[in-house]
Amino acid sequence: MRPVLLSGHERALTQVKYSSDGDLIFTVAKDQIPSVWFSANGERLGSYSGHVGAVWTVDVNPDTTLLATGAADNTMRLWNVKTGKLLKTWEFESSIKRVEFSPDGRQLLGVTERRQNVLPSIMVFDIIPDVDAEQSSEHALRIICDESKATVAGFSYNAKYIIAGHEDGTVTQYDGKTGEYIDNIQAHEEEMQVTDLQWSPDRTYFITSSKDKSAKLITTDDLEVLKTYVTDTPLNSAAIFPVKDYVILGGGQAAMDVTTTSARQGKFEARFYHKIFEDEIGRVRGHFGPLNYVAVDPTGKSYASGGEDGYVRLHHFDRTFFDFMYEVEREAATGRL
């Protein structure tokens, strides 16, 4: 497996996203210019210029026409994926730490940061999935997280719920239409921030990662913790592999402590865990800073990781990767034949 290194960013990567067909990769970093790449060969297709602060988050709508980004310049922006043209800017009183489209692409949420006199909140906007349409400036819904700041959030299947992960390690379920609070669980250790939330392909369950060195698989409907993946390093990201029962976790020692340790001790590796047996089954090294985000191709051909070191490493899997099976899995597979 020879990774492709994408070195278009000058500063630490913050998020990496695949398009729904897996052919494009969107990357954002602290250097203010989001980029888009072809996943097949690592060629850069273009960039989106306009932000004047570190870009924290990116998402693309399901038909790959609209791109949303959120940044430290207190704006959330909408772009034309094909041309790089800025279509809409929403201004807020604090920076945007997470954006996500609903599964049908008709809603967009943004998670705002806490500031003095500004309560952290989750803002939902209605989106017209057309690049020429005039988008509404008014938010359709606002969920205020007064207890603990939301760090990550996303829409469940059919946008029925909005699930948010918080600074204090809890995961909350809100109603997707009214924004009403429904349920809350202490998924991770107290005061350990939830760093990432990524969905299974059908969005009936999701995976959260946390600074408490673990990742959890949780159901959408009743927030039941199904699986726990324990590691030895703070995690920044976790992704569910679509075609095989694997999960990929990424993390590493916090960026501020990195200079005091060697690359080996920093544990800057992507870790592969078996989704069902919760065992670690492999690691991929390469970054020389913590991994800030791992994203998996929805078609399962590759995965990409963005690191604090400013590189995106794009890995296309070898065939042996897909052949690996546990003894019981193999028995089950042969029994079925």
């Binding site: 492709v4 210019i33 297709l45 790959t64 089954i281 890995h315």
Partner: protein, 289 residues
Amino acid sequence: MSKAQTTQGRTDWAEDDDDDAITLPPTQINKNKDGTETIISYRLDDQGRKVKTTRRIKKVTVRHTVNPRVAERKQWAKFGVEVNKPKGPTADTTSVGEDIALKLSMNYKAAQQEEKSAIEQKKVSLKETKIKCRICSGEHWTSKCPYKDTMAPEGEPAPGVADDEGSQNEGVGGLGQGGSSYVPPHLRGKAGVTGERMGGGKYDRDDLATLRVTNVSEFAEEGELREIFGRFGHVTRVFLAKDRDTGRAKGFAFISYSDRAEAQRACDKMDGFGYHHLILKVEFAKKST
């Protein structure tokens, strides 16, 4: 030299200037019996020399079903900072990293722990080694021995072979104990502590599958070598020694394969192969001691 070849029959170099418009022979395409095609084409290179290219190709149709949306996006024009750049990845933003083996295994954790405990054991064994003075056999370093100026090391006539008991050397790193016994770093014993290399042995390669190629033309390039040697198997590393000032090849290269059998095959086939204007010499790289 090659200039002279293209302008055969001319005697006056001054006439070179106006031969920009050399008429190039048309491209020939010959169909071979075994289904391959031979294409002979001519072009002028950047110095105006005529270059003849002979290619033998076999056409294989590989059908690949691509989502129409994906196919459409492939044709999109570049924009933003990439605007007007040609198609294909550019070297400044896209590069290929070192080969990484991802081998999934059920007992990955256990294997890791074993590795760790091996390191621990080594540490313990290092701790247990006793310090022994070579002069008086006391428990201190030879260089700190109170008798070092008055007595010669016991049982050791010649200074310089200071290294048969490795344990004495750690700490001072094997550097001259009580005399002129400098030992070059690579000759110091195991305990001569070379220090942990960065990247944890990332560059520890399998010397058994590495070939040394000598008599390489100074115009050789790594990419070309990779291509040539890649025919025999999976090349994990190509190292072409280059002159730091001129950037030209120094005349030798190392090629590592992932498998010794492939390396053996490449060695057999490529030894004596004519590359550029020289004949390559290929042999297994000797393990450095």
